[in-house]
Subunit: 345 residues, 2 copies
Amino acid sequence: MQRKPTMNDVARLAGVGTMTVSRVLNSSPHVSDETAARVRTAVARLGYQPNEMARALRNFKSSTIGLLLPNLYDPFYATCAHALNMVAKEHDYTVLLTITNDNADHEYVEAKRMLQRHVEGLVVIPAESDRCRLGDPEFSEIPVVSMDRPLPPIEGREMDSVTTENQTGAREAIEHLVQVHGLKRILFVGHKPALFTMQERHEGYTSAMSTAGLATMARFDCVSEARATEICRDALELPEPPQAIFTANNLATRLILSALLKLRIRVPEQLALVGFDDLELSDLLHPALTVVRQPMTDLGSTAGRLLFGKLKSQVPRDQLARVVLPVELVVRNSCGCFFASGLGR
Amino acid sequence: MQRKPTMNDVARLAGVGTMTVSRVLNSSPHVSDETAARVRTAVARLGYQPNEMARALRNFKSSTIGLLLPNLYDPFYATCAHALNMVAKEHDYTVLLTITNDNADHEYVEAKRMLQRHVEGLVVIPAESDRCRLGDPEFSEIPVVSMDRPLPPIEGREMDSVTTENQTGAREAIEHLVQVHGLKRILFVGHKPALFTMQERHEGYTSAMSTAGLATMARFDCVSEARATEICRDALELPEPPQAIFTANNLATRLILSALLKLRIRVPEQLALVGFDDLELSDLLHPALTVVRQPMTDLGSTAGRLLFGKLKSQVPRDQLARVVLPVELVVRNSCGCFFASGLGR
DNA sequence: CTGAAAGCGCTAACAC
DNA sequence: GTGTTAGCGCTTTCAG
């Protein structure tokens, strides 16, 4: 385990100065072909690899970006992360990854760590919180882009964001239930009332319901199997029980579906179901799930494009971008469509 | 956007030398409480943050590890990555993430990039390939741990690995089909014959079949919906069609399931199904899937523990660890269990 | 207990 | 075209 060769070693072996080596490595024009060739042989002979640390220290750039997200076991976040990574790779950047567990304090600490590591930009799925600190002045030196949820503006400073049409998606889901299937009593089920996406989807639900002149009912506590069962039971005991449930994210969908199955409630005959977020196997379920599908990959790659646009100075730093990506209502069977016809197996 | 404060700035403000500041920051003992306090105030006043780049350059350590994996959209890999990240966080290390797309050349290039960035260790889900180069001498300076698939030993050098009981898992699945359900003709379906896990599972399948005195049949080309349909159709046209299919990974399971549904083949009555790898909604399917479940989180965290064991010098570098984690046969309905009783909805 | 000097590996700026 | 000098921000070494 001997010391790694440095630029000096290469220079000595090639019989030139270190600067010449540096120039060759950075393919600067003013080097004669002959010397360049000599240097390259020396590099190859020694298996020389530039020390990125020294380079970063000198150049004030690290070719690194930071990615902060709540977790990676949720396929939604993981897919965003995947897409972002691909963009970074295209630009020859490396990604520093951190899991925040949806905790704003961790997020802040980790973001600072990344700053110390001289990341040139940050992509973040902000932690669910009222007191996010990613707007602190120390972060204003690098571009920051948020995905899925916007970063709350702090002291007037706003940051780029890429989100999806949460409201529109929810509204379309409800309108489908109301207009196509003639349903009137639709229950909204979410898992965290404070979450931006949750609020937006609830807003979409509310507005669609009120447009149709229907009364709303919502539960925001669908966080466990037990609770989901409770929610379903409560709902069915109502004098006028809901005819459909709109689950506002993949966790809620999963839990409610499981509860419904256990309670032996027939979907969609007895209770229709539409969910926000597509799930891996939802087309193979019985009934196949009708869902609002979000463009997960686009979220990540758009965030990446936004960030690199600024890093490569193609876009002025102070130009604010707020991209909202379209969602798609994927009509399958759980809403009641194609079901009587027996297509649903 | 002014220059960041350096240690020198702090030293000047506190009226001490830079060394004293350094000592305080690294909580070295030989500083008087009073000076230390002065330094700390100065640090706070300036909002000083140590420059990790300079530190890494000086110390030859970066508090960074590298993670290389095929992709993040596969929940299996993503969950491993999540677990590893959590371990790294415990040790106050940062993770450099790279997607290899299961390409050994990308993997090699990216691993070298990580080396240039002075990662202190590497965790990798090796790309499917006969010519992996992660055993090259340049990597022998840092500990390398592989997950899910072992790294092929190169020039005698072997590396730590964490895998799961692929053979045993497959064998148990087959034995269940044979012994509990009395099935004799079982088709093995995989997607990539070269993959380590695929081979191991096939080996388990073969050994279980031969122990039972049964003939084997295998397909290794389940890579698309169309192909899956073809596989099913081919199988059913056989003079003695299979009574069960064993799908050797989550992709194959997904595709075969979808094909079976489309072909209106009843599971498990007409054809039983057992898969390797659990899927997010597989307990909600009709029938619920019987699967061999792998400890995804354990894979990641064990790999992390192995790596940090060496980084913290608790374990000698040359001590080879080969951990094999147990899998679990999760019996649900697709194998035929609990099905006649109507429990499956 | 504290500070000054030297240098980690690299490159921008200026000589020649 | 090419080499020399200086210094990025930090810490090790060695004097005080």
